[in-house]
Point group: C2
Chain length 384, copies 2
Amino acid sequence: MMSRSHAAAATVVFALALPLGAAAQTGDLIVEKKTFEMPSYTTAGGVTIKNVKIGWEAAGTLNADKSNAILVTHFFSGTSHAFGKYATSDAVPGYWDAIIGPGKAIDTNKYYAISSDTLVNLNAKAPNVVTTGPASINPDTGKPYGMRFPVVSIKDFVNVQRALIESLGIKKLDAVVGASMGALQAYEWAASHPDMVGRIVAVIGTPGADPYLIGWLDIWAEPIRLDPKWNNGDYYDKEPPLAGLAAALKIITLHANHWEWAAKTQAGAADAGKDPGQALDNKFKIQATLDTAAAARAKTADANHLLYLVKANQLASADPSKIKAPALVLYSPTDVVFYAPFVEEVAKRIAGAETGTITGPNGHLNGVLAIAQAADKISAFLAR
Amino acid sequence: MMSRSHAAAATVVFALALPLGAAAQTGDLIVEKKTFEMPSYTTAGGVTIKNVKIGWEAAGTLNADKSNAILVTHFFSGTSHAFGKYATSDAVPGYWDAIIGPGKAIDTNKYYAISSDTLVNLNAKAPNVVTTGPASINPDTGKPYGMRFPVVSIKDFVNVQRALIESLGIKKLDAVVGASMGALQAYEWAASHPDMVGRIVAVIGTPGADPYLIGWLDIWAEPIRLDPKWNNGDYYDKEPPLAGLAAALKIITLHANHWEWAAKTQAGAADAGKDPGQALDNKFKIQATLDTAAAARAKTADANHLLYLVKANQLASADPSKIKAPALVLYSPTDVVFYAPFVEEVAKRIAGAETGTITGPNGHLNGVLAIAQAADKISAFLAR
């Protein structure tokens, strides 16, 4: 989930660029967090993890032949909370509430929408997130794994989701739909489990990270390794490396956005009484915005989980030529995380793939914040 | 200067993307480092610094009326070493040797080319760099300034250059020419000292940093603040914060480049025997490339100087409407530091400005590595 503080932090960044109501469309859809457990899971790299848990939530009703399920896979800093609210008093609904719910593009009057937390989910400390990763207790030692947790990849995220789906008796998903790291998972589903995927909607992502993005992901991780409180990943009985984690989240927040957002909303000094020219510590507005958002987000995140997520994304490598399912590929032309030429090339390698763009001032984040633009396109694609 | 190790580090990154000889055009031009001293300098912010020194080097001959001088201003991680070699045995010449020297676009048979180290130059420990900044000894205390050094801006860099120029008896520069932070300085020269500037060639830069770039500059600085060895800037009698400094240089190196370079040269694992999927520490090639280059560059750089340079760039704010000198504005369409739309808009605000592009796989760095493309354009502009 997005906890209150996480959601509040996201709001700090998102609200600045958003027309009122664009992200915070209120719905009456109420969802409940559930937990899926596996006694053990063996990673694609061959390491067995005991007692694997992930959280999930759903809306709509699974039909008699269990053929109407749509899986929603989440982005790097996201959770299963893609649609609805946990309670009507929640400040904001799930991140893609604009397109998922009763009567919406992914119509939960028709489809059974399901979304799960990934392994090594970033927000390990958020009260409604259920995930297994370095912060989890290793049943063999009674202590957190830390850096002894095995490397996992997008393939592993999908394998665990598959076990969840099969536990519900679902043999084939009508669709897998996701943004950014969620798109990596959608491509992986279609390439590796072609018989289980009816179609995919891959938003602001490619099947694998290009070398420039692999370099950037490494830079996202760097501040954590520099924080002495990280202590090679062993900090669970001490103060966590919040400064390094917040710095990592700053980079991610800025990288996922765009100069147009900053130019429109972030000009000038943070504090009119503290001229940035007068002291090194006097901040510009954009610095303060990033610092505030990152510090809030760091509270519910785990630093080791971020490192493992970075690796999982670096390793993503679904083969687009193996994708036979119909694909709708949506991208932001101003994205500086997954650059448009890569997305366009991938779409060409998937037989019959349809493409579309999502525009706005937020670069990569257009795929989350401005997804309503693509509602009709998604709806029509699903109806085919 | 670029010391041997600094030049070698630059070569690591640059050579990967370069056709042979594009940056390393050998010339026989030999330059000598000199030092310019001021008993004191008062910053734009009103603080007086005693005993200010900057290094400079020149080629060509100043004519009788001292009207043929062209000032070359350097980029963020650069030095005055823009052209020629210190000795014929140097591995590489100055960074813009392709366009500066006898018979070249900036023809030192005709012009007196002069280039100086800025205040707070990044490469404070390089043997041929002369600069004044936080690593300098404060004559009043006998100790390094550290974070007690006053904030300086591009305006201060230009003011000190102006004192150097005036010390040579030059009343008006034929041109000011620079890339990136060098362009910030060229715009500042033309806007603040219109009677002293005949024309400017501003390459891959705008007169000021936009809010998105201000945010990125803050992120460049962040790893240094996270390194406990930074110690709030007091490390001159201890081990310097090399890890934080190297991490900062990693970000800068990747940010200044482009996905096309990475896709062409950086795919795959760093070490065929160490699958990145098998261990968190097993690196991809791009990680190793950045780590190697950054560690080498960190040896001659100073962490506090980087923080002060970040602030100086964030504060840049020359007013393009005050620029009356003819301007040639060259940019890289794939630049993700100074985005093309900002450069194009600035050019429109300068009366009669001419524009041109420099292309290649290196994004922002095309303005350094591929400057030879613009040689004829620069030559024609200077001849007008």
